[in-house]
Symmetry: C2
Subunit: 361 residues, 2 copies
Amino acid sequence: MASRMSEHTARAILSIASEPGDEKLGALIGEHGASQALEMIKSGQVSGAVVKRVREVMESKALEGAMTRLTNCGGRFIIPSDDEWPALLDDLDTSAPVGLWLKGTANLKVVTEKSLAVVGARASTAYGERMASEVGALAGQADVCVVSGAAYGIDAAAHRGALATDGYTIAVLACGVDVAYPAAHAGLLSRISESGLIISEAPPQGKPHKRRFLVRNRLIATLAQSTVVIEAALRSGSLSTANWANALGRDVWGIPGPVTSATSAGVHAGIRDGVMNIVTELCDVTSRFNTEPKIQNDLQDPLQIAVLKIIGTNQASTETLISKITQASDGNIDVHEIHSALAILELRGLVERTATGWRCR
Amino acid sequence: MASRMSEHTARAILSIASEPGDEKLGALIGEHGASQALEMIKSGQVSGAVVKRVREVMESKALEGAMTRLTNCGGRFIIPSDDEWPALLDDLDTSAPVGLWLKGTANLKVVTEKSLAVVGARASTAYGERMASEVGALAGQADVCVVSGAAYGIDAAAHRGALATDGYTIAVLACGVDVAYPAAHAGLLSRISESGLIISEAPPQGKPHKRRFLVRNRLIATLAQSTVVIEAALRSGSLSTANWANALGRDVWGIPGPVTSATSAGVHAGIRDGVMNIVTELCDVTSRFNTEPKIQNDLQDPLQIAVLKIIGTNQASTETLISKITQASDGNIDVHEIHSALAILELRGLVERTATGWRCR
C-alpha cells in the first residue's frame, strides 16, 4: 500500500488482528492515530504478539473476507470519528474498542442516549426471567434501550421484553455479528437487528472465546447509563459486568430474590457490598431516565392532544377532525399532519378506526 | 398501709395502674424509687391520669387479683433490682418497664445473654414462614434465644423452629401472660412456657390494646442483641421493631424476597434506607454470636469425641465401648458418664442404636 491508509481501514485491520481490550494498542492508537499505529506495528517499531497478527492479516485476505461477510449480512464497521460512535465509550480510555462491528437498523449513538444494561444468569429461574422480561418491557415503554448479551436466561428475557413493547434493544456479542450464538437464538437475534442492533468488537465470523465474554461484559456496562443485575450466582460473569459498571460510575441495581436461591446469592452479596442498589420496585431501574412512558411523551405533542380532545368520548370522522383542526389552527396544520397524528395515536393504541371514523380506546 | 411499701409491691401497683412506656412515670421512679414515687402519686404531689388510676388500684383488690392470677398460672413478677432482670432493658432509660410479668422455666437474664428477635408479617407467605422456621432452628442450634411476639405467621414459625431444636424462645405479649392471644396459639404458648418464657409489661388478664402492641415491639427489640425482619409490608409493625432495634444500636437484619412480593417490600425498603443489613445467608443472623452449632460444641467434649472415634465407621457394642473407655481412662470415666455421652450423641443424631450396639449416622 503506497498511500497512507484510511483510519477506517486501519482500525478494521487492527480490530481483526487484536483482541478486544488491548490497552497497549489502545495507547498507541491514542497517541499516533490508527493509520500511523498500524505502520509502526507493521514495520516492527513496537513489539508484541500484535506484530505477527497484523502482518498475517495484511498479507492475507482477512480484511476483504471480513468486509465481504459484513456487507453480506447488511452490517457496518464504525470508529470513534463516526457520528454514530457513542461518547459513553470514551469512558474506557485506552481499553475502548478499536472499532465496532454493527448489524441492525438503529443508530448506536441515538439509542444509547438512554440505555439500561440488563444482565444475569443463563441458568435463571422462572422468577428471574419474569423480572427480566418486565424490566425489558418497562424500559421499552420508557424509550430506554435495553443492552444485553443475547445469552440464555435473563439476557433473552430482557431482549424479548423490550421487543414486545416495540422498544430498542442491543445485543452485544462475544462473537461476530454474523454468528448466531447461541444458535437457538438465531430468531431472537434476527428480530433484534430488525429494529435494534447487534454489535461486537470481534469481526464477522469471530468465535466466542472465553476471554471475549469477559471483555464483552465490560462493553455492555459501558454502553448504558445504568445496569441492573437480575439473578447471578456468586462469581457469576454478571457480577463482573456490575463491577465494570460501578467502576465506570454508572448506576448499578440488583433485584433481590429469595435468600435461599443460589441464583440470587450474587445479587444479595453485591447489595451487601455496596456494589449495587437494591431494587425495591421494578420502576426504580428506569427512574434515573426521568421519563414517563411513551404514551405520556407522545401526548406532549399539541396536535395529538387536540385530536384526542376532539374525538373525546364519542367518535369523530376523519373529515370532522380535519375541518376542526385546520379551522382552529387557521390552516397552519395541514391534512397530512393530521393523518400522521392519527397514525401515531393508532400505533400507540390510543385511538382505533371505526366504520365511520375514529374513537378513543 | 402504715409501713413503707416494698419496691416489688410498689412496682406491681404502678405496673397495673400505668400503661407501658410512660416516660414521666419512669423518670419519677428513677429519681425517687418506686415506693416513694407511689406515695407521691397517691398524695397528689404529681399530676396526670396515673393519679386516679393508682388510687383506683390501691382502693380495689386489683393487686391481690393480679397476684392470685399470677400464682395460679405459675408466673412471677420481676423488677430491676432482681437478679433475673437483664441489663439490656437499661437501654430503655425512663421508658424501661416498671416491672415484668413472667411465666416459664427459663431465666430471663441468662437466656437473653445471646438472643435474636425474629419479627415479621402475620400475613406471611410460605417462603417467609419457611425462612422464619429455619432462622428459629439455626438460633436454637447455636444456643441463641429466639425472641418474638407469638403472633400468626412469622412469629409462630420462628418460635416453632426454636422449639424444634430444643432452643430457648421467649414470647413477648401485649396482653397478660395468662391470656392466650391469639387463642389459636394456646398450645404454642404452653410449649414456649415449658422450656422458655412468656413475658409482658401488662398484668395478668391484661387486654391486648393496639397501643400495647407498639410498646411491645420496642420490648422485643430491646431484649435481643440482633433483630431479623422476615417479610414485612410497607408500614408494617415489624418495621417499628426494626427501627427501635436500630435506635438502640442493635444489629438489624432483613431477609430479602422476590421484589414483586408485597410482604417483602418493607424489608427491601429497610435495606435500601440502611435500617437493615441484607441477609445473604441465613447463618448471617447468628454470626455475631460467634458460636458454632450445638453439635460442634458438643464435640468439644473429649468423652463424646472418644466414643465417636471408637464406633468409627463400624458398629460397637455398649460393652466394648465401656471396656475400651474405662481402660483408656484408667477407670476415671465411669459407666454412667459413658451412657450419658451416648444418650447425648443419640439425641444429636450423631449415633443410633443397632440390634447389637451403636453405629455412627
